[in-house]
């Protein structure tokens, strides 16, 4: 079965949700015209990234009653959408979130579980940690969402894979860093490496939507990618430029790759669980 994926490699207006919503709707229309079944926006695509104290003032909750989500849910009648936003829960905790919208419904919301708070990052000062990593069913496949630092750690993609995700949806607002003599930034090289590695290790589609543009002195480098279950690059967006990146994927590739390479079949989850319990137990032991 073929599916057309689209990646909205956009720039955003920092803290201006209305302006960003307009861009989302226009990209959705364009992606629909290009025949896309699913359009994926980057991390915090409705708000911008370096929010600091803006965070609590731009939060929305994904429901048909929300003025920002109502039109997005409407647009999801035409094609599925993944959007990035600040989610405020009932207890008024703020999360960096990604929502999967399809046929007017919210199928899944992921709260970022790893909030980088080091070097140029300060996320856990402003946001709460998510505490669930779950795959979910879309009308045509099972997927999982991880947001930026979530997939710098191996465990979230691994858990999503075990939970049945065949398409790993990664979204980022990745600030470029590491200028050397190479034509590519170190941060871009690293992200591309691990995306390709996840596709190969988990024999799954790995889809990465990264944003572009500048916030204060930070710049976001784009270069969104889709890798197939063989770890082959199917498409790559331009660096540093806004773009709608589309690609047709063949879900039957999962069958062909996993018939050849049964890594999923052979994954010993009970062994992993036993060893995890032992390691955690021993660590507890050393802390006493």
């Amino acid at each position: 079965m073929k599916q057309t994926l689209a990646l909205a490699q956009i720039n955003t207006k920092l803290g201006d949700v209305e302006a960003n919503l307009k861009k989302h709707l226009s990209f959705a229309q364009e992606a629909k015209s290009a025949g896309a079944d699913l359009l994926i926006f980057p991390e915090l695509s409705l708000t911008g990234y370096a929010l600091q104290d803006i965070a609590s003032t731009v939060a929305h909750h994904p429901s048909a009653h929300d003025p920002i989500f109502a039109p997005l849910l409407e647009a999801s009648q035409e094609l599925d959408l993944v959007v990035g936003f600040v989610d405020e829960d009932d207890r008024h905790r703020f999360f960096i979130a990604g929502a999967y919208l399809s046929k007017g419904k919210v199928l899944h919301v992921h709260h970022k579980v790893y909030l980088p708070t080091y070097a140029l990052f300060d996320e856990s000062r402003f946001f709460a940690w998510g505490d669930r990593i779950q795959a979910f069913d879309t009308p045509t496949f099972r997927a999982g969402i991880a947001i930026c630092e979530d997939f710098w750690h191996a465990s979230p993609p691994y858990l999503l894979w075990l939970d049945g995700a065949d398409i790993l949806i990664f979204t980022s607002a990745s600030p470029g860093r590491g200028l050397t003599n190479e034509p590519k930034l170190e941060s871009a090289r690293w992200v591309e490496h691990i995306n390709q590695a996840y596709a190969s290790l988990f024999t799954s589609f790995t889809v990465h939507a990264n944003r572009v543009g500048f916030e204060d002195g930070l710049h976001f480098w784009g270069g969104s990618t889709v890798y197939d279950p063989n770890g082959e690059l199917l498409v790559k967006g331009p660096y540093h430029k806004e773009a709608l990146v589309t690609v047709e994927i063949d879900l039957d590739q999962l069958h062909r790759t996993r018939a050849r390479l049964p890594l999923l079949r052979d994954e010993r989850t009970a062994l992993v669980q036993r060893e995890m319990m032992r390691i955690i137990g021993e660590r507890r032991g050393t802390q006493r």
């Binding site: 207006k13 920092l14 201006d16 104290d53 050397t180 034509p183 543009g213 500048f214 916030e215 540093h240």
Partner: protein, 273 residues
């Protein structure tokens, strides 16, 4: 092996994008740059001209009577090469009356007065030309504090502040900035015969490697010494970086209330844009 080489094409893409983004989102389309005739301001001017179009960049030459003719000529060379707009405002008539009243002022004080006078002219032109002041300080001088606070360090945005002097030289050469500007001895030209490297007591080439290890690679002082740098040099540079940190941060505000600018009132500069 300490390799400070950078990919010029990638640096150019990011830095011109940065200039355009920061200026246009603030509601402007133009830039103002003080052109000394040296390499740093030449590079900022080239980048701004590429980012905004030369017609949207105003290069201002602000010579003092003791400024070298070379400085003026090299600044003119940058103006001619980039085809930016230009203006020359000599500062002699502005600062000399003050110096007459303060005959005891030494070179340091006079140099600071000149740097701050140039800042006043640039910010006046910022309003007159409706452009933002683009900075010309590189990473080496920012770390060493080799600048006049509220003088040459004053700007609305700085495209070259994360490039060491060594990298400024490489990028300038790669972008086609004329050799006579790239190759000459760096100087603040605040008094005749002044050169940065004489005044600092070491070369940029040497200190850039040390700063790279200390700052970018997070080496300890002992690890830098092990890597081959002289003990005294390492500690002299570390002390200089520490002592000048006040130039890199906003002045501290005494905290009294529950929400104070700088501590718990935190917004990005690009707020809402």
């Amino acid at each position: 092996m300490i390799d400070l080489a950078i990919n010029a094409k990638l640096a150019h893409t990011i830095l011109t994008g940065f200039i355009k983004s920061e200026i246009t989102r603030a509601g402007f389309k133009r830039a103002v740059i003080g052109l000394s005739g040296g390499i740093d301001s030449a590079l900022s001017c080239f980048l701004a001209a590429d980012a905004l179009g030369p017609e949207n960049v105003l290069a201002v030459r602000m010579p003092y009577k003791s400024s070298s003719q070379d400085s003026l000529d090299h600044a003119q060379l940058v103006i001619n090469t980039t085809a930016v707009q230009s203006l020359t405002v000599p500062i002699t008539e502005i600062v000399d009356p003050l110096f007459e009243r303060l005959p005891d002022a030494d070179d340091m004080r006079r140099g600071n007065v000149m740097a701050r006078t140039r800042m006043i002219i640039l910010y006046d032109q910022s309003e007159a030309f409706k452009g933002l002041v683009v900075g010309t300080g590189n990473k080496t001088e920012i770390l060493l504090g080799y600048s006049t606070l509220y003088g040459d360090s004053a700007c609305a945005l700085n495209p070259i502040g994360d490039l060491y002097k060594t990298q400024v030289r490489q990028l300038s050469r790669d972008l086609g900035i004329p050799d006579e500007i790239v190759d000459k001895a760096p100087s603040a030209d605040l008094w005749a015969g002044q050169t940065d490297e004489d005044e600092l007591g070491f070369t940029y080439k040497e200190v850039d490697k040390l700063l790279y290890l200390l700052v970018d690679e997070r080496y300890s002082p002992d690890e830098c010494i092990e890597a081959g740098f002289a003990d005294e040099f390492v500690h002299q540079v570390i002390e200089r970086v520490r002592r000048n940190h006040f130039k890199r941060v906003l002045p501290p505000i005494a905290k009294l209330t529950n929400r104070t600018v700088g501590y718990d009132f935190l917004y990005p500069r690009d707020w809402g844009t």
